[in-house]
Every structure is written in C-alpha cells, then in structure tokens.
C-alpha cells in the first residue's frame, strides 16, 4: 500500500500529514494534525473529479451524530482537492465483524444497526443516497456509529449522469438494479439488509470467488435466511428483495420493524413522523435503464423501433409456446402479410424513404456535436437528451472493472467473468484458439446434417406450397439449400473468433452468395427446370434494379408466361443470391453463441428480406423467400450451438465437449 504523501508532508497549508489511513475509490485518506493540534482526516480527490465534488459540497453542512463530519474542501498547489473531515479513530464494522466469525451478539449488532440506519435515514431525508454502504465505511467512535464516505455518494439530482464515479460500491453490498443504472435510495436499503445479515451471521449472504459470481448471485440467487430468527429474517428478506419496487420502502420502515426494545426513540428525523408507510421522501424521476444495445445509436425513432423489435423477438424466442404452435403463428403472420402486403408496402416504402432523408439530415446536423459530448462527459452537466445514459457509463465501468478483474484472475489461471460482453469475448478467444482439425470435424458433421435438414425442409416446402409436386424442383431446392447453408457455415466456422467487425464477413458472403447463385443456375439448367412464380408483389422484370439497369428478362426466357413458369439467366441467380447473402448477417445464425439453437424469428426475417429483395432484383416468389427460410433453418439447426448454461463453464476454461 503506497501513499503519495509521507509522514510530515504538508500538502495543505496548516495541516501536517501523519500517516496514510486507507484508500477509497476516490483516492487516499490521511490522518493529519492541524498546526493548532486538531486531528483531521484528509481525503485526497485527484483532479478531474469536479463533478463529484458538487456532491460533497451538498453534504458539507449536514449535521448528524451518526455521520462523519465534513469540515471543508481545500485545493492544493497541484490543483488537487482535499476534503477535510472528522478523524474517527475507532474500529470499523469490518473489524468488528471479523472479531465475531459466528455473528456478533444481538445487542452489539443492534447498536451498530440502529446507528447506521438512523444516519442513512437522515441522509435520505436530505435527498442523498449513500450508494457505497459497506462495513469498511462504518465506524464506532466512542460508542457512536459514524458513517463515512457519504460526501462522495453524490447528491441525487446531479449524480445520475455524472458517470465518472469510482464509488460504485463493493459488490457484496451492491443491489441488483445498479447494473441497470438505477440509483434510488433502495440500493441503500438493500445494502443495509446485507450488512444486518452479515452482522448476525458473520458472513455476507452471497459469497463467491469472483466479482462476477457475486454479482450473478445478487441478480439471481436467494439468500439463505434460515439462519436468522424473526423479526430479523423478515427484515433482511424485505430489504434484500431483488425488485426495488417490492423492497422495504424506507430505512425508517426497517427501523420500525425492529423489536421496540432495540429501536432508537425519536432518532429518525422523518418529516412526516415515523410512519412506516410514510410518503417517499425522495422525489426523483427514476430514469429507466436503457438497453445496452441502444448505446451505439440512440436516434430516438430507430432506437424505439429496435428495442420494441428486440423485445418482441426475445419474448417470442423465449416463450414457452409449443414449437408447432409457434410455427403456426409464424405461418399465419406470413400469410396475412403476403395477402395484404401490397397496400401495406405502399405505406411502408414512402415512410422508409422519408426516414432515410430524416436520418441523413440528422447525421449531418447532430452527429458531430454528439461525438464531442460523448468524448467529454465531465465538462459541465450535459443536457438531458445529449448526456450519455448513466447505465451505459456504468456498463462501461463494470466492463472495465471486469476486464481488470479478469486480468488479475487470469494470472491465477482462474478465469471467471460476468458480463455478457465479457464472456463473449472470452468465448471468442476460446474459439479463436480452436485447432483447424477441431473446426473441420465440426464443420463436416454440420454439413452432413445440413444436407439432411435441407432435403426435409425442401420436401416440406414443395409439398405445402408448390403447385404440383415437381421432382426436379425438389432436387433443385435440396441442393441449393444445402450448398447455401454450407456457404454460410464454412466461412463462419473458419473465421470463428477472428473478426470483430462485420465488413469482412459481409464481403465473404457476397462472394459466396454469388457462387451459390452460379451453382443454382447450373443445377437448374442441368435439370431443365422452370421456376414457378406467383405474383406476390411484382411480376418478372419489374424489380427496381431490373428497371434501372434496363435489364429486362427477355420474353424468350419466359418458358410459359400463362402458367407462370420462368427460366432465368445466370446473372439473375448470381446477383439475387449475392444480394441475399450480403444483406443478411447469416453468420450470426451459425455462431455458437446465438441466443437459441433455432430462432423461428430469424427464419421468418430471412424469408421477409428475401421477399423485399425481389422488389429490387426480381426472383420468382414465393420460391425465393421460402428458399431463404429453409436455408436459415438449415444453417441454424445444423451449426454447433453451445447452450447458455454451458457458456459460463466454457468461458471459465473448460474444454468444448
């Protein structure tokens, strides 16, 4: 433990440092003596934390026996800020708990707890959320409980998006909703529940070997409360509720539930008396957490659409409906859409066009300034709409912390981590390390399965949709679907864990799509196959590109216009497949980390995009969209998939089974 200032140094006029006391998230704390002999603690706050200091300023004049008094904030010659505060020489709750490994005597625990809760209630009453309650911040000085570090816990109204905070709380006491960027006073209630549990049992309810493990338990695990007696069991259970809405409403309410013998009388300064159901003192607008996925692009319309879409997609994929029922819903939706698609499209296309213009203008006008704001979040308080969401900042912080923790742990040959992004990255590394032989084995297996699945899928399609079962069509479809799924699986498997952006994958797909197109044409020619088409959208040769390029299908190639059968030239196949492949992120469907093995949603999506594509570049429909759907299904069904339950284990270094 190194301290920047040794004993005897005088960084601040009038104070002589005696020794380093500890190190918080913000900086070092020193024990110092003023020239007149006043003992103080000096907390060094490194520059660029100006935003945080606003919080301390708000706390400077709070007065409560259970709070460590703040005297002043001073600036030294290096422009570093120092908080001058009361020096507390007694033991910390941390040390007190350590003395009682089986839990401290009830009387002592209640002495601590009532002091802590009274102080926290006072803070809440003054609109301040501590956010970093933990035994190391709580002290017993001459029989009085003292809460420390609250000055740095930020004033609620300005803290929500100040972002650059270091004090996010020790994970053992961290409420689950902090991950979502929610910082209501409920997080203090949660921490108090944990502290009460720890005092009475001698250990925290959620223990783990890594930060990630503990966080995960906060989010999912239920604490073992059987070791506690009533009423403490009920209080801890109420304070540790995962959902802040169901949690005990206030710290005062917690105190009220204590047996009257230990309750401090009249110590809680609640303006409305000490009613448990008293109105919530803090009137803070709880900004709901934004999904992390919105971070990269928060243009409001798109963001809303996207989050709605993701939500729908996730719910659909994760719902417990029978797959058969799901398929039927999907088919029904598709039929409805196809049958009513044309007028619908008439509305959709102009809207999309307008949006495109709006988006371009927005990018020009708003884009550069947004970047500037994002790069310098500490310079003053950014306006509400332009500020980076606290959740994303916290997210980043958690990620960086994770990265650091991971780094530390890796040295111990113990890699555990918690955030989704992080295990993704871990997995990515794991996958990149796979040998060629492993890849090939997986690939060949997958390709064989793909052929089988493609043939079944094609058969189903032919039976259901094609007018009159044609053996040639079935064979063509099977072969093309197999080839296409191979064309997705091979590059994906080979590139696994190598690319982080999509540009190279898109390009590879464009090329392989064109190849598939060529082969599709070759097979069709060899089978002397005419493609059936129905007019769901537009007829042959009227796609936008066909028209724009003046490329029209010659009448001679239309084998039988009345029967709606068509034979297409090579370029139609090649271009259609190339576009189809480049448009969709097919590799995502072959990734081992996709959300579910087969997502009907993305199958439908692929079909839909294929259908949209034919407006631009005509291809017989519904053949094209059905084929795309079969390819999507085949790719997903036959690609290796690691169930989410195994991913954690895998990321921790287990071999792929």
């Amino acid at each position: 433990m190194r301290y920047a200032y040794p004993s005897g140094s005088r960084p601040l006029e009038g104070y002589t440092i005696k020794r380093g006391v500890g190190r918080g998230g913000f900086g070092e704390v020193y024990f110092a003596v003023s020239d007149a002999g006043k003992e103080v603690a000096l907390k060094l706050i490194r520059r660029n934390l100006d935003v945080e200091l606003r919080g301390v300023t708000q706390c400077l004049n709070l007065k409560h026996q259970n709070l460590i008094a703040l005297y002043d904030i001073r600036t030294d010659e290096h422009e570093d800020r120092w908080v001058v505060m009361e020096y507390v020489s007694g033991e910390s709750l941390d040390e007190a708990i350590e003395k009682h490994p089986q839990g401290m005597p009830l009387e002592l625990a209640m002495h601590w707890f009532t002091g802590i809760a009274t102080g926290v209630a006072y803070l809440h009453d003054h609109g301040i959320v501590h956010r970093d309650l933990k035994p190391a911040n709580l002290f017993m000085d001459e029989g009085t409980v003292k809460i420390g570090d609250y000055g740095l816990s930020k004033f609620i109204s300005c803290s929500r998006r100040s972002g650059q905070t270091e004090s996010v709380g020790t994970v053992h006491y961290m409420a689950p909703e902090i991950g979502n960027g929610r910082y209501g006073k409920e997080i203090d209630t949660y921490a108090l529940g944990i502290i009460l549990y720890e005092m009475l049992t001698g250990h925290v309810p959620f223990e783990g070997e890594s930060v990630g493990e503990v966080l995960m338990k906060h989010l999912t695990a239920e604490p073992d409360l059987n070791v506690l007696d009533e009423p403490y069991r009920g209080i801890v259970a109420g304070a540790m509720a995962k959902d802040p809405e169901v949690r005990i409403k206030s710290v005062a309410a917690m105190l009220d539930r204590l047996p009257s013998s230990v309750r401090p009388v009249g110590a809680v300064p609640m303006p409305n008396g000490r009613s448990a159901e008293g109105p919530v003192v803090l009137t803070v607008d709880e900004e709901p957490a934004e999904a992390a996925s919105l971070k990269e692009d928060d243009e409001p319309i798109l963001a809303a659409l996207r989050s709605g879409w993701y939500d729908l997609e996730r719910r659909f994929d994760e719902s417990d409906l029978h797959p058969l029922l799901k398929s039927m819903i999907v088919i029904a939706l598709v039929l409805v859409f196809v049958s009513s698609g044309i007028p619908f499209l008439g509305l959709l296309l102009p809207a999309a066009f307008l949006y495109l213009i709006y988006r371009t203008v927005r990018a020009i006008v708003v884009g550069p300034s947004r970047k500037r704001v994002a790069a310098k979040p500490v310079q003053g308080v950014p306006s509400r709409s332009e500020s980076p969401g606290i959740s994303s900042v916290l997210q980043e912080r958690i990620q960086s912390e994770t990265a650091r923790a991971t780094q530390e742990q890796r040295t111990k040959q113990k890699t555990k981590q918690f955030s989704r992004q992080d295990w993704r990255q871990q997995l990515q590394e794991h996958l990149a390390a796979k040998t060629m032989r492993q890849r090939m084995t997986e690939l060949v297996g997958g390709m064989l399965v793909a052929t089988a699945v493609a043939s079944i899928g094609s058969l189903a399609i032919c039976l259901v949709s094609a007018r009159g079962v044609s053996m040639e069509l079935y064979v063509w479809m099977t072969l093309v679907a197999s080839l296409a799924s191979w064309a997705v699986m091979i590059p994906t498997r080979l590139a696994e864990g190598k690319f982080e952006d999509q540009a190279p994958m898109r390009f590879v797909q464009l090329v392989s799509g064109a190849l598939v197109g060529v082969m599709a044409w070759g097979i069709a020619e060899a089978l002397v196959l005419s493609m059936p088409w129905s007019n769901i959208g537009i007829g042959p040769g009227s796609g936008m590109m066909d028209v724009a390029l003046g490329f029209s299908l010659e009448r001679s190639t239309l084998a039988d216009n009345a029967a709606k059968l068509v034979r297409l030239p090579l370029q139609v196949y090649a271009a259609y497949f190339a576009f189809l492949f480049a448009l969709l992120a097919w590799w995502r469907q072959a990734e081992v980390t996709r959300r579910s093995r087969v997502s009907l949603w993305s199958v439908v999506w692929c079909g839909f995009v294929a259908w949209l594509l034919h407006f631009v570049w005509w291809f017989p429909q519904p053949l094209g969209l059905l084929l795309a759907a079969v390819i999507a299904f085949t790719v997903q069904f036959s690609s290796v998939w690691i169930p989410p339950s195994r991913r954690q284990a895998l990321a921790e270094g287990e071999e792929v089974g």
Partner: protein, 194 residues
C-alpha cells in the same frame, strides 16, 4: 521526561508511541510531565511504569488499580493486566511476544493520548511490526515482519522484505535517526522523533 520517545506512523495501520526509556511516567500532558500523556482527568504525574529485567512494575503516585484492586504500593504487571488510573482511564497491558521483554499499553477507555496514537510500546531490546498477533504492532495486511532493535545507543531495523530508507542523511542504511521514512514491498512507515 525520563527517556527518548519516537512515534511510528504506519501507513494503513496506525500511529504508535515507542518509549525507549527504562521508566515512563503516565499523566496529563504538561511541559515537563508525562511520557505517556493522556487527555483525561489525571494528575500530571499519575503513575510510573518501570522495566526491571523481564518484568514491569507500576508505581501509583495517585489513585490507580490493577484488575480492580486498588494499589497501595509498587506492583508487578502481568500480561493482560487491566490498569485503571483515576476514575475513568482504563488501559490494557500486554507482553505479546515470549522472546521479547517489550510491552504494549492500549487505552481501552475512550481517551486520547498526546500525540494521538493507537497504542504505546514500552520497548526493551526490540519491537516487532508484523502480521502475527504476537507482534507488538500488529499489521494485519503485511506479509513480513519488520523488527526495530537497539544496537548500542542506536536504533536499527531489519526486515526480510526489501526496504529502502527515504532519507539521504541515513547513509548507514539500517539505522534510524531523526525523522525518516521506510518503504518496502507492501508496507511503508515513518518515524518521528518527539
């Protein structure tokens, strides 16, 4: 004032008054009064503690008791003795290390000493700073011991962890004189002469 005193400021641990004299005076702070000055309702010279070989003898000059027994004359202090001076000052006497005659006094009542320290070491030949409970100055998070010992009239130190003295006047390296700071892997402490 009956002997040299230094304060060891140990970063992250606490402040400790180390008394090097054979006899220390306990009492209220005053210009030429107590070695161990307690800010309490005591006399300026309230009692003395004298080292005699391996043991310590407490001589009451004003009202004092050991383990509840009011003292009439000089009494030997045993390890773990509870000393009470006046009506309110309570302190614990310890000889934590079997091989060292040095003793530690810790205030148990909430009184402050001058200078404000966490414990007082009555140092005989050596004073051990380390992670074990038998150390005179217990430094929980340390990995190695740091030993302060007398050599002639000098104070020197040894430690198994690499350490450096941050004061150029200490060219001799391991001798502690005046105010100096010693830093090593995982620890740092400063000595202040008073």
């Amino acid at each position: 004032m009956s002997g040299k005193r230094i304060v060891a400021w140990v970063d992250g641990v606490g402040g400790f008054l180390i008394c090097l004299g054979e006899e220390v005076v306990l009492g209220q702070p005053s210009v030429d009064g107590a070695d161990i000055a307690v800010l309490a309702d005591l006399s300026r010279r309230h009692a003395t503690i004298r080292r005699e070989g391996e043991s310590y003898v407490l001589t009451p000059l004003h009202r004092a008791s050991i383990d509840g027994r009011v003292l009439a004359g000089p009494t030997v202090l045993n390890d773990g003795a509870q000393v009470k001076l006046g009506d309110t000052v309570r302190m614990k006497f310890h000889k934590p290390h079997a091989l060292s005659a040095s003793a530690v006094l810790t205030l148990e009542s909430h009184h402050k000493t001058e200078p404000a320290v966490d414990a007082i070491v009555l140092m005989s030949e050596s004073c051990i700073f380390g992670p074990q409970p038998r150390s005179h100055i217990c430094c929980r998070d340390w990995t190695d011991d740091f030993v302060l010992f007398r050599r002639g009239s000098d104070l020197q130190f040894r430690t198994s962890a690499p350490a450096e003295v941050e004061d150029e006047s200490l060219s001799t390296g391991k001798t502690i004189a005046g105010n100096c700071r010693i830093e090593g892997k995982g620890f740092a402490l400063s000595f202040e002469e008073i």
